[in-house]
């Protein structure tokens, strides 16, 4: 049964090598591997649901020396999200890359990114988090540069430089942790960690690194050019998955491993940065001239919301209210993952059909590409946080927690952020529905438009209506202080 943990990492890794050896069979290898990863992720979620936390020490080497893999509610549910989004993006990619050379380069890197994401989510020790964080970063940069334009390469180089600085800071934090506690295993750390200066220094370094990686304001500047200039399937993965796993680490470190060192002041600072990110990102999205740039700035804003939850979680005592808030932050992250990948895939369809993605010139899109316009609207609903999307429930919980803890300051931030999101979504839709001189195309667009539609439907309908189970699944006990299982 513990083998379950190995497959989500091993399958894409092997497939990546296969795709490198057989470049012409990339579509087939990638599709099969993505499907297999999805099955193994679903199986893992099922098994965690039945048995609780699953852990394995690879090769029988005990933690401390060996590589420990762990899956709990939080990591397995994110793993499932990654697997679903990756499969749909993969299906779209078979249509997107019409150049055989680029497509042959895409698959090995893409599968490697998938393996790295899964390894990060399943990692049980802090040093492996550094390694997987680097693997995610390197493959993401290489994928981002796939387009080959000058802008894409400049953005990729900047992304790489900033990302490497972030991982260096994270690694320096790992050194301090090892010096202070002599272990890097997260379960062991959670039980020995104390509230003292060495912990603060380590946490500060690691958090700084992760803030760069998760593009929290003011460290967000690398994100819009990198995400807007990558090929559409890659942008979707960068925005939906890559920044999300960095946030997962923030959540994991602060709420699972170093709970004792989480001071309200620190959480407030992160929350304030998140609030600025919400407002600034939404404002820039509203002013963005291009659809993909809009989507990238909207990612900056949506990540800001995730950080708003930290001061609330720090302020709530253990109990149902905190469980509700914790479930909400995960639901927010999941919904954004699906909605943003849908939006980027939709933008990709428009960019390829129209030859550009300038918002002002989208006139006629609604008639030419009705399915894709529907996708834009659906993912817009999730980005604004209208019912029945998952974001609506999450924002509801966010406001409830703000009232509960008396942290009223976040309420106007959420209100203004949502209004700005409404404005930028309707700006796009307004132009898309405007009359234009585009030819109408066939409705059945198959592999080109349906993946985005599926993702948008999950974000707006499935996660909104069936989110109840998520709270039970996350099993707050697994996140209690000291990591008691």
């Amino acid at each position: 049964m513990t083998d379950l943990l190995v497959w989500p990492i091993l399958l894409p890794l092997l497939a990546s090598l296969l795709a490198l050896v057989f470049p012409r069979r990339g579509d087939w290898i990638g599709g099969m591997a993505s499907l297999a990863v999805l099955i193994s992720a679903a199986w893992l979620v099922h098994s965690v649901w039945d048995n609780g936390v699953i852990a394995v020490a690879l090769g029988g080497w005990q933690p401390g020396l060996g590589i420990a893999l762990r899956a709990d509610g939080l990591s397995s549910v994110l793993l499932l999200m990654v697997a679903i989004v990756a499969l749909t993006i993969g299906i779209y990619a078979t249509r997107y890359f019409d150049n055989a050379v680029v497509r042959a380069r895409f698959w090995p890197l893409w599968l490697l990114l998938l393996a790295a994401l899964n390894a990060l989510l399943l990692s049980g020790d802090v040093f492996n988090l550094y390694v997987t964080l680097e693997l995610v970063g390197l493959t993401a940069v290489a994928l981002g540069a796939l387009g080959g334009s000058r802008d894409a390469i400049v953005a990729a180089l900047r992304y790489l430089t900033i990302g490497l600085l972030g991982s260096m800071a994270f690694l320096a934090g790992v050194v301090v942790l090892y010096a202070a506690y002599g272990t890097l295993d997260m379960v062991a750390l959670a039980s020995v960690v104390e509230d003292r200066p060495a912990t603060w220094v380590a946490l500060m370094l690691m958090t700084l690194g992760l803030l760069v990686k998760s593009a929290l304001f003011p460290m967000h500047f690398w994100l819009p050019p990198a995400h807007a200039n990558a090929p559409a399937p890659v942008s979707a993965a960068l925005s939906a998955l890559v920044v999300k796993v960095a946030f997962y680490l923030v959540l994991r470190l602060w709420l699972d491993v170093f709970t004792v060192a989480l001071h309200p002041a620190t959480a407030w600072m992160l929350g304030l940065l998140g609030a600025v990110a919400v407002l600034w990102g939404s404002y820039r999205a509203l002013r963005a001239p291009r659809l993909k740039l809009l989507a990238a700035y909207s990612t900056v804003a949506q990540l800001g919301y995730l950080f708003l939850f930290l001061p609330l979680l720090a302020g709530l005592p253990d109990g149902p209210a905190r469980e509700a808030a914790f479930g909400a932050v995960v639901l927010f992250a999941l919904t954004h993952g699906f909605a943003k990948s849908a939006l980027f895939l939709g933008a990709g369809v428009i960019q390829q059909r129209a030859g550009h993605d300038r918002i002002e010139e989208l006139g006629g899109t609604a008639r030419a590409l009705p399915v894709t316009t529907f996708v834009l609207a659906l993912s817009g609903i999730a980005l604004i946080g209208l019912p029945p999307s998952g974001t609506f429930l999450a924002k509801w919980q966010l406001l409830a927690a703000a009232v509960e803890t008396g942290q009223w300051v976040w309420i106007p931030v959420v209100a203004v952020g949502s209004l700005l999101a409404g404005a930028y979504v309707f700006r796009v839709l307004g132009h898309a529905f405007a009359p234009g001189d585009r030819d109408g195309s066939a409705l059945a667009a198959g592999r080109e438009e349906l993946p985005a539609l599926a993702l948008a439907l999950v974000a707006t309908v499935v996660l909104g209506l069936a989110a109840g189970g998520l709270w039970g699944f996350l099993d707050f006990a697994a996140m209690s202080p000291g990591g008691a299982r």
């Binding site: 180089l157 790489l160 600085l165």
Partner: protein
């Protein structure tokens, strides 16, 4: 023993900060990549200091294993950065 640890540890921190400064202040790609490596060397030196347990004692093997992994990662990252920088030069010279 303590003095040695402090000297090397301090050197590691200095390298880290120097590298950081270089990455943030330089504008040319090559200078930044080199600065990143200086920064990384600082962190790796800290790992080496950590492994030292005094004269005549066997060093702690775990930091050594970690630093080797770290160096491999740093080399690949540098290779990718150099490849991107070279591609950029090619585009600019065409």
């Amino acid at each position: 023993m303590l003095a040695t640890t402090i000297i090397y540890g301090f050197a590691g921190i200095c390298l880290f900060v120097l590298g950081l400064r270089g990455v943030l202040l330089h504008t040319t790609a090559l200078a930044r990549i080199l600065a990143l490596n200086v920064c990384g060397a600082g962190v790796f030196l800290l790992f080496v200091v950590l492994a030292y347990r005094g004269a005549g004692m066997t060093p702690d093997p775990v930091p050594h294993a970690l630093v080797l992994t770290g160096i491999v990662v740093a080399v690949s990252a540098t290779a990718l950065a150099l490849a991107l920088a070279r591609r950029l030069r090619e585009i600019d010279h065409d």
